[in-house]
Symmetry: C2
Subunit: 197 residues, 2 copies
Amino acid sequence: MDKDTREKLIEAATPLFAWKGFAGASIRELAKAADVNSALISYHFGGKEGLYAAVLHTHLTHLLSALEQVSRSTADPEERIRLFIKTVSDIHKEKPFLLRLLQGELINPSVYFEKVLVTSFKKLITFLPATVAEGKDLGKFAPDIHPLYASVALVSMVNFYFIIRPLAEQIFPQDLNRDEEYIKQVARIYLKGVKEE
Amino acid sequence: MDKDTREKLIEAATPLFAWKGFAGASIRELAKAADVNSALISYHFGGKEGLYAAVLHTHLTHLLSALEQVSRSTADPEERIRLFIKTVSDIHKEKPFLLRLLQGELINPSVYFEKVLVTSFKKLITFLPATVAEGKDLGKFAPDIHPLYASVALVSMVNFYFIIRPLAEQIFPQDLNRDEEYIKQVARIYLKGVKEE
DNA sequence: GTCTATATTGCGATAGAC
DNA sequence: GTCTATCGCAATATAGAC
């Protein structure tokens, strides 16, 4: 059974928007990549912006539902942090375009940024500082750990690696092919770094 | 004394390229922001791409010379890492557009990416894994620390914070105004995280 | 729902006067 | 070195046939 036009467009537009940004991808090449007439972008999505929003929405949904699962975990703080690290890195491996799309939004925020992105993350990311605070309360993490900043540090390690990998691969060609090893190092360094001794 | 046209264009183009990307900024708005005739972009830089390369070059130079200083430090591994953290965060505070420009290059690499960026970083960033390895040799860092991946983790924490700050500020409006505190947390977590116990 | 054809706008670049 | 005027082109969007 054939994919319908909407689906084909979203799928084909994803890598183009991810690699070239919103402004850099033209409706002509978007349509061509989807093997679809360019007029259909306006018909189905009301224009290029609508297609872009649909692409963003599709990919964001995956991330948000995964984060929601993590936030509902009842494991202890250390285990929940391990689960967070694993979940996020799995998402990036599975959907390598998501992070580039989000990056594009951070550089050049569209209306989607304020309307959807900020509110979505607001609801879901607060569990991370809460987890760190819980670790402190339980006496497992050191008292001088700042829940919010420590969370940002963790989010940084888990995400930035996937951002700079294309650059890193050119700088260290043979050495950086093991995502698993990086993830292990992150968990190792971070959990030891926040722990009460 | 007046700034000359080249200077005015580079200065005015920096935030525009940083916020809108190469494709998103038009030569008309670039010229207008610099209060200069748009034909002068072609005259002085050979076109929009030339201006973009000049902007990138100007900002990259600062970063590279700062990194070079760090790499020449003779302090012990822990101190050199502290110096690296401080240096990079100072650069981002001083030149808030640099990271956005580099981000744009990562998303949509121009010719500049391969020709200049990769080779520049190649020469300068190897001192970081070397520093971590030195810490291991001295018995100060734990043996299961992987110099390269541990370096990527550090680079991530130091840079990504400045990337997501616009988003984080909207999610946690009042809590994220102290860069110093974040930097302190990073040094605290990282150095404790890699240390031999 | 999909196509062709086209309207309209804005783009980057340059010729030529000063 | 800077200006005006404009060329040629590619952009998005849409009207109207099927």
